[in-house]
């Protein structure tokens, strides 16, 4: 009897061992096949683009399915990492030898670690929801299939960007998302303004890309490798000058992609794209790639305090800049775009603070991805109900007509305000606290900027929310032919899911510092630094400023009647409407001189280079024409010239002799 029970115990134990090894095997398989994440959406894009009109009827559902498939794979990856010890949660999956030229070797591989997997989950989940939303939003567009092909292309490129294990492979994804962004901003390219907006985004991104490519070249020159593991591990011993150069060039790249000062001018115009694009690319994912780059390159910035300071300054400037611009825009999408810029400024600031803030940068990035995407989808739903009008001055009191949109947008609004317990409170307050950590003047300047930004954010987001959804009965400023109505379920369902995320994601990830601990192996642990002001004081100050902002907006845009045509406004308002003269500045500083330069070069080419070539040809031709006369056809004259030649030669020989 005892023997029997002993035997069964052994069998059970070996069974458990067997199950465990099977489990490990399955997890290993999931990680080894992480390339599927990139391949699935890429396959969708290829099928839709190559299949042409034949795929019109079912193409969008294929794209949706492949996007969700990528999400499922991403979730499996996440669980395969959760099962491991924190320090083992980093793995490079080698794909193939990519470049092998002399001493320069780059392998294409995917880096699976907590940071990249967090991004994968955000990109695939929000991306898939927006795919679903777009099915209804783009229903009446004859080119819906092309739209979905580009969306899938974007998801593939973005996943490649975050999963790459070297800067060079990241660069491929980086350019891929730039291309997808260009194609989608200019999706309605029959409208010249939209096509111009796409070009503007592309060119502004090129400026940043030059920085990124210079940074990669600098890495190769300094470390002889461009893979994350080599560069980041050898950056500790490198000289500060080299690291500063690489860091500043990385920052330039990040500024271009993330619409940070001074390369921020393209984001407002990028709103020309269909609204789901604005939600996915220009709010939730692509524009945050710069933050990812800075956080990923943390060790480089650690070794280059000056470059790090530049990151923080850029973030602080952009967060105030975006907030000011957001206060003046009447176009709902442009106001949201300015807000995106400002929020990414927060992330940049936090990323520049090093391990103290990097985890919160990613935290805010995730929560922002949810609530901003949700609000953009809400804006799309409003536009859908209001004949594609984007002018908030013609909205007003839409809460009754679009209850679901109103509620979901409201949750996003509470989240971005940082009202406890919604998402933004957990992530943005932490950034403000982190900004107040440090010595000397820095915490005061950057902390105040972040604090001020929170107040202004509350004002302009409340302005947007009240102008669109609230107001007294005299505030229905709708155009005569507008019949606002709620959008179909395919659109409202993603909005609801994102709204739930906006509400609880911060709580879920922040209450026990879950995300911070999850990211610790990548971004480093932050010590026990205390802000220069007590945390309670900071929190009270932030909430007071937020309340002030909301109250001001309530007074101006809910209580008072909002004019349907924008008043002239103060000097600051007018400047903010024009993006604080960013475009004028760019035109005066870069475009005009560039035009003069090209004109001058054309002149030099026409007159100088062409003139030299043409002149030489004319000279030879003319000379030939003259010399032709010598050929008279008279034999005797030829004989005479021969004789003369001989006489001259002989004379010459004689002269030399004597």
């Amino acid at each position: 009897m005892t023997l029997l029970s002993l035997g069964s115990g052994v069998v059970q134990a070996s069974d458990e061992l067997h199950v465990a090894s099977q489990y490990q095997n399955a997890m290993g398989q999931i990680q080894n096949n992480a390339w599927l994440l990139v391949a699935l959406p890429l396959l969708g894009a290829a099928v839709l683009l190559l299949g042409g009109r034949r795929t019109d009827r079912w193409g969008h559902w294929l794209a949706v399915a492949l996007s969700w498939a990528a999400f499922v794979w991403g979730a499996l990856l996440f669980f395969s990492l959760v099962g491991l010890e924190p320090e083992d949660r980093s793995r490079v999956v080698h794909l193939f030898d990519w470049v092998s030229a002399g001493s320069f070797k780059v392998d294409a591989g995917l880096l699976l670690d907590p940071l990249s997997v967090a991004f994968v989950l955000l990109v695939t989940f929000v991306g898939s929801l927006i795919h679903v939303y777009s099915v209804a939003y783009m229903e009446h567009d004859p080119d819906r299939r092309r739209f979905f092909a580009y969306l899938n292309l974007f998801v593939a490129a973005m996943l490649l960007l975050v999963l790459a294990d070297s800067y060079l492979l990241l660069y491929v994804g980086w350019e891929g998302v730039g291309l997808a962004s260009y194609l989608l901003i200019g999706f309605w390219n029959h409208n010249p303004t939209y096509a111009a907006a796409a070009k503007k985004a592309f060119i502004a991104n090129r400026v940043g890309d030059v920085g990124l490519s210079l940074a990669i070249m600098g890495m190769f020159a300094a470390f002889g490798s461009v893979s994350f593991s080599d560069v980041l591990s050898s950056s500790e011993g490198a000289s500060e000058g080299k690291l500063t150069f690489i860091g500043l060039m990385l920052l330039l790249g990040a500024c271009g992609k993330s619409a940070q000062f001074p390369l921020q001018s393209w984001l407002g115009d990028a709103m020309a794209g269909p609204t789901p694009v604005s939600a996915l690319i220009h709010a939730a994912t692509m524009v945050t790639a710069g933050v990812y780059l800075v956080v990923r390159s943390g060790p480089i910035f650690e070794g280059a305090p000056n470059a790090q300071l530049c990151v923080v300054i850029v973030g602080a400037i952009t967060l105030v800049y975006g907030a000011i611009v957001g206060c003046a825009k009447d176009d709902i999408k442009k106001a949201l775009a300015a807000s995106t810029m400002s929020q990414i400024g927060y992330m940049m600031l936090a990323a520049g603070l090093g391990p103290v803030g990097a985890a919160f940068a990613i935290f805010h990035l995730l929560t922002h991805g949810f609530f901003k995407a949700g609000m953009f989808l809400g804006a799309g739903s409003v536009m859908h109900g209001m004949n594609d009008s984007v002018d908030m001055r013609r909205y007003g009191r839409l809460s009754g007509a679009m209850k679901i949109t109103w509620a979901t947008f409201g949750l996003g609004w509470l989240a971005i305000l940082g009202v406890p317990p919604f998402s933004g409170f957990w992530s943005k307050d932490k950034i403000i606290e982190a900004a107040f950590i440090g010595e000397g003047w820095r915490p005061w300047v950057f902390g105040s900027a972040a604090l001020l930004g929170a107040g202004v954010t509350a004002f302009y987001m409340s302005r947007l929310f009240f102008m669109t959804f609230q107001g007294g009965s005299d505030n229905k400023r709708w155009p005569k032919d507008a019949h606002p109505h709620e959008s179909p379920l395919l659109m409202t369902a993603p909005m609801m899911i994102l709204a739930i995320g906006s509400a609880v994601l911060g709580l879920a990830l922040g209450v026990s510092d879950g995300l911070v601990h999850w990211l610790e192996p990548v971004v480093g642990a932050h010590g026990e630094e205390e802000p220069v002001l007590p945390v309670a004081v900071l929190m009270t100050l932030t909430l007071a400023l937020v309340a002030l902002g909301v109250a001001l907006a309530w007074r101006m845009y809910w209580q008072a009647k909002v004019p349907a045509v924008a008043p002239r406004g103060s000097l600051l308002t007018r400047a903010a409407r024009r993006d604080l003269f960013q475009d004028d500045l760019n035109e005066a500083l870069f475009m005009r001189p560039g035009q003069y330069l090209t004109r001058w070069l054309v002149y030099v080419d026409n007159r100088g280079v062409d003139g030299a070539v043409g002149g030489l040809a004319a000279l030879v031709g003319g000379l030939g024409g003259r010399l032709r006369r010598v050929q008279t056809g008279l034999v005797r004259s030829y004989a005479a010239s021969m004789l003369a030649g001989v006489v001259i030669l002989l004379g010459g020989v004689l002269a030399v002799r004597i």
Partner: protein
Amino acid sequence: MNLVNWLYLSVLLFSIGAATVLVRRNAIIVFMGVELMLNATNLAFVTFARINGKVEGQVIALFVMLVAAAEVVVGLAIIFTIFRTRRSASVDDANLLKY
């Protein structure tokens, strides 16, 4: 007799030949001028051979005679053909190649 005088004679003959080539129009006369120049050089070659006591000058003179004989054949044939087609032996009329 001084051998240099032969050189003076050669120069004289060459000059006469060259002047004939330059001033006369009749192709036959021009041709005769050419022959005169060739023979003047032959004379110079032979004279130099004597002066230097070497045989090469005489050898070259023989070569020149040989080539001159061939040249006379070809040249006269050309002049004859031109005369037959253009009814003229004037070298000034044979100018078609200028075009």
